[in-house]
């Protein structure tokens, strides 16, 4: 039979997929609305408030971008590990370690005679190194110790949190007693420069966009990216095709760790200017959600991460205006991911039914 598979319904698939994703968005909104109604809050007003909170003025837009930059970094970071078929849950801890290493170098050098820009640069490089070290631990546990990267990463996340608290209340505590508000802030000379009157640093934006472009190119256009994908989709076959598999998995961990560490470094140098207990702000986990939502396509990471950042910033006003908890943003984000995954599953089922399933894969193939 001279039938080249897939061709019959390819055209249809192309425009059906976005429709399904739209349906997922609507379902997530519907369920959030139901939940708001259940707790007796006016849904429309809540949504309007989120929109207003995110877009009402230059300040709020700038704040949104402050969230966007590290979120984009963690998102594109986990895109690399996802490509290699790895669930780098430990990205959260990698952000934290990035922040810790950055703080460490800033503390070491703040009294030195080095020019501030050099200190900041060194601190940020140290942050990237810190993230990479933490990722390398998860990677080594996976490749040499046979510990699933989800468990390894989860454990390392707890260690990272504990380490932060110990530093804040121990060796790096403020003069007098340690406080949940973190270590003593660094002098303004060691802050990453921000736009006048805003909390937003153009450096953060530039670095995040640069990382996005680099990862996009890496996964799309390079041999390394293609090999990562092969390892992620079928490790056995990749090995037989001549790809050193564990080296590639390790490399993907390291690259993701570098980017997560950079996100942590930005949290210290551009946002908080000190180490605080929840320095990672959950951007690691949120990055995982965004990566799942964009179906592991780097090109969609920017807009979807921006949407998530808008939800985060927009919901800050909710407790004051509507006496709703700001975790509403998290509810909506979580529901969105669940519905996108659900709808994707449904889509595949439907597509399978449209396609000739039976003899395109001969029965004799089963072994």
């Amino acid at each position: 039979m001279n039938r080249s598979p897939h061709t019959p319904s390819r055209k249809r698939i192309d425009w059906i997929t976005p429709l399904f994703q739209l349906a997922a968005l609507l379902l997530a909104l519907l369920f959030t609305t139901l939940m708001l109604l259940a707790v007796g809050a006016p849904p429309l007003q809540a949504y309007l408030n989120i929109l207003k909170g995110a877009f009402s003025n230059v300040n709020s837009v700038a704040n949104m971008l402050v969230v966007w930059a590290p979120l984009l970094l963690t998102t594109v970071g986990v895109l690399i590990t996802f490509s290699a078929g790895l669930w780098n849950i430990g990205v959260e801890g990698q952000v934290t370690l990035g922040a810790i290493f950055t703080t460490w170098v800033l503390r070491l050098l703040q009294e030195s005679a080095l020019p501030p820009w050099l200190i900041i640069l060194l601190a940020m490089l140290a942050g990237m190194l810190g993230g990479a070290v933490w990722a390398a631990l998860a990677g080594a546990l996976k490749t040499f110790g046979g510990v699933n990267e989800i468990f390894g990463g989860l454990g390392l996340n707890f260690v990272a949190t504990a380490l932060t608290l110990w530093l804040i209340f121990g060796p790096w505590k403020r003069p007098g007693t340690g406080s949940m508000s973190g270590t003593l802030p660094f002098p303004e000379t060691l802050w990453l420069p921000t736009l006048s009157g805003l909390r937003l640093s153009p450096w953060s934006l530039a670095l995040a966009l640069l990382a996005l472009a680099a990862v996009y190119l890496l996964l799309r256009g390079t041999r390394f990216g293609l090999r990562l994908k092969a390892v992620g989709k079928n490790m056995r076959a990749a090995y037989l095709l001549g790809i050193p598999t564990w080296q590639h998995m390790m490399a993907s961990f390291l690259l993701c760790g570098l980017l997560a560490g950079l996100a942590g470094a930005l949290q210290v140098t551009a946002v908080y200017h000190r180490l605080i207990p929840s320095i990672s702000s959950g951007y690691g986990f949120l990055g995982l959600l965004v990566a799942m939502l964009v179906n592991y396509q780097a090109i969609w990471a920017a807009p979807v991460a921006l949407f998530f950042a808008a939800l985060n910033i927009g919901s800050i006003q909710l407790p004051i205006v509507l006496r709703l908890d700001s975790s509403l943003a998290g509810v909506l984000q979580g529901l969105l991911v669940l519905f996108v995954l659900l709808v994707e599953g449904a889509r595949q089922q439907i597509m399978k039914r449209l396609r000739p399933p039976d003899e395109s894969v001969p029965v004799e193939e089963r072994t």
């Binding site: 897939h6 994908k229 989709k233 079928n234 076959a237 003899e359 004799e364 072994t367």
Partner: protein, 494 residues
């Protein structure tokens, strides 16, 4: 039971898998269903056994129209199907598998079931221990278990899907005897196969399908040429064997040993010359797979030396072997050989020697187009490998191999492929041999072993024969060795 399929139609998307098939099979008949992959024979059998519903058409059992909704519905009507891979539960005992699927009360009635099992097994001469675990059985024995189970459930029509794949010659004889007995008892047997020899030797009549249509029915005496023509619409001539020219030794094994948790292969010594083809025969799991994986660094040998092209590679990894011109093509094409989700272009780019950091996709597509043409793959550069048919996946795997190769190791290179693909694959392998590549291949198909090998190693539960000249080997002798007969008595050498 008398089976009539009347005007059966089935489409999957745009593919018309069954086009108005009408077939009458009287009780007591062994009916062959012959056709190449994708001819529609599996679809037709799945319709009869309730796995899928026909779009149109009627099934009549003993003249009475029936509607079959599911496999368990089919068995209530007396229709049972044996799948190519037995659908059983390996971690459970034979008797538990036997009882499964039986409708009834809470109590299993093990004692009664055991009695029935023994009785049925005796009737067919099957030596099955009801207390054995299924994962310790061979494919042939699992088939026997499945036959007994279906009979016990009251099957009067039995469908066999490629039952002679992966079983020994002795088991095949036993299976055929059982099928003949079933027919004598007035049961109806539908025998699906693409092996001409099997259907010719067994069936009372043969229906040939091609591209979803019934081409015609043939009764004995069968003419092979006619059957082949009906299957493919043209004649296919098998290539002649040319003796290999003596060349340099490419692979030298010096008392190589390897073991896994099931068995051990000990002290195999072998020298293979360039262009030579060595067939590894034996029942599946007799040690040939382990042996092959040890030769290329996928399993670490427990003793002995491996030299490839004069270089000692003992203990090195597969990647190192690969750099020295060794390639291994696994039997599980989609599980181990190809990367589902990636398309042909991406595969060719991956398999090429590393050049530069960025991929030149234009060159990659050009390469893919060229290889697709060279190897006659039915697919486009953008086609993902999982949507290729089995034969085309195998062609793609061969097309991915780099040039030149010193040693090519193949696990079941033509399993599940139709004759046309098989001949094509071997013509490509022969080209490799002509360039000086040595080939070692595993096959459970005796004909393939005898036809394509220069020398043969036979494996039987870890034991290995010395290299046997294929030209001096008969299929009877080979079958005996595979079945564990005619081995020289060796004391307790282990």
């Amino acid at each position: 039971m008398d089976v009539t399929l009347h005007d059966i139609h089935k489409t999957f998307g745009r593919v018309h898998a069954n086009v108005g098939i009408t077939l009458h099979v009287p009780a007591g008949t062994i009916q062959g269903i012959l056709g190449e992959n994708g001819a529609g024979k599996s679809t037709l059998m799945k319709i009869l056994s309730g796995f899928i519903r026909a779009d149109r058409g009627e099934i009549r059992l003993d003249g009475r129209p029936v509607v079959i909704h599911s496999p368990s519905d089919a068995i209530r009507h007396g229709v049972g199907m044996l799948h190519q891979d037995p659908l059983d539960f390996p971690p459970m005992r034979v008797l538990d598998n036997f009882i499964l699927g039986r409708h009834g009360g809470l109590s299993l009635g093990r004692a009664a079931a055991r009695r029935d099992f023994r009785q049925l097994a005796e009737q067919f001469g099957f030596a099955l221990d009801p207390e054995a675990y299924v994962d310790a059985l061979t494919v042939g024995e699992r088939q026997q278990l499945e036959i007994l189970r279906l009979l016990w459930l009251g099957a009067r029509v039995l469908i066999f899907d490629e039952p002679t794949t992966g079983i020994s010659a002795a088991q095949k004889e036993k299976l055929f005897a059982a099928l003949r007995l079933l027919a004598e008892q007035g049961r109806t047997v539908l025998f699906v196969s693409h092996k001409l020899e099997d259907v010719e030797g067994l069936c009372h009549k043969i229906a040939v399908l091609r591209q979803g249509q019934l081409v015609g029915e043939v009764r004995p005496p069968y003419k092979t040429a006619l059957l082949v023509e009906m299957m493919f619409g043209k004649n296919i001539v098998t290539g002649e064997r040319a003796p290999a020219e003596p060349r340099e030794v490419t692979l030298h094994l010096d008392s190589l040993s390897a073991e896994d948790n099931r068995l051990a292969v000990r002290n195999v010594s072998l020298s293979v010359r360039g262009g030579e083809v060595i067939g590894l025969a034996g029942m599946e799991g007799s040690g040939q797979g382990l042996f092959m994986r040890a030769i290329c660094g996928l399993t670490r040998p427990t003793g002995g030396r491996i030299r490839v092209g004069g270089r000692d590679l003992t203990g090195r990894s597969y990647l190192s072997f690969k750099r020295h011109g060794v390639a291994f093509l696994p039997a599980a094409r989609l599980e181990e050989g190809l990367v589902p989700g990636l398309n042909l272009t991406e595969h060719f780019v991956l398999a090429e020697e590393q050049r530069g950091f960025f991929v030149n996709w234009e060159a990659g597509r050009a390469l893919a187009r060229q290889r697709i043409g060279d190897f006659n793959i039915r697919g486009a550069p953008e086609t993902t490998v999982e949507s290729l048919s089995g034969g085309n996946q195998q062609r793609a795997l061969l097309a991915l191999l780099r040039l030149p190769l010193t040693l090519l190791l193949l696990e079941h290179p033509t399993r599940g492929l139709d004759i046309e693909s098989t001949i094509y694959i071997w013509s490509k392998l022969r080209e490799r041999c002509a360039q000086g590549t040595s080939i070692l291949f595993i096959s459970s198909d005796l004909e393939e072993i005898l036809q394509y090998s220069d020398r043969v190693l036979v494996f039987f539960s870890g034991r290995v024969t010395p290299p046997l000249e294929a030209a001096a080997l008969t299929s009877d002798r080979l079958g005996e060795l595979i079945g564990g007969k005619g081995w020289p008595e060796k004391g307790r050498e282990r």
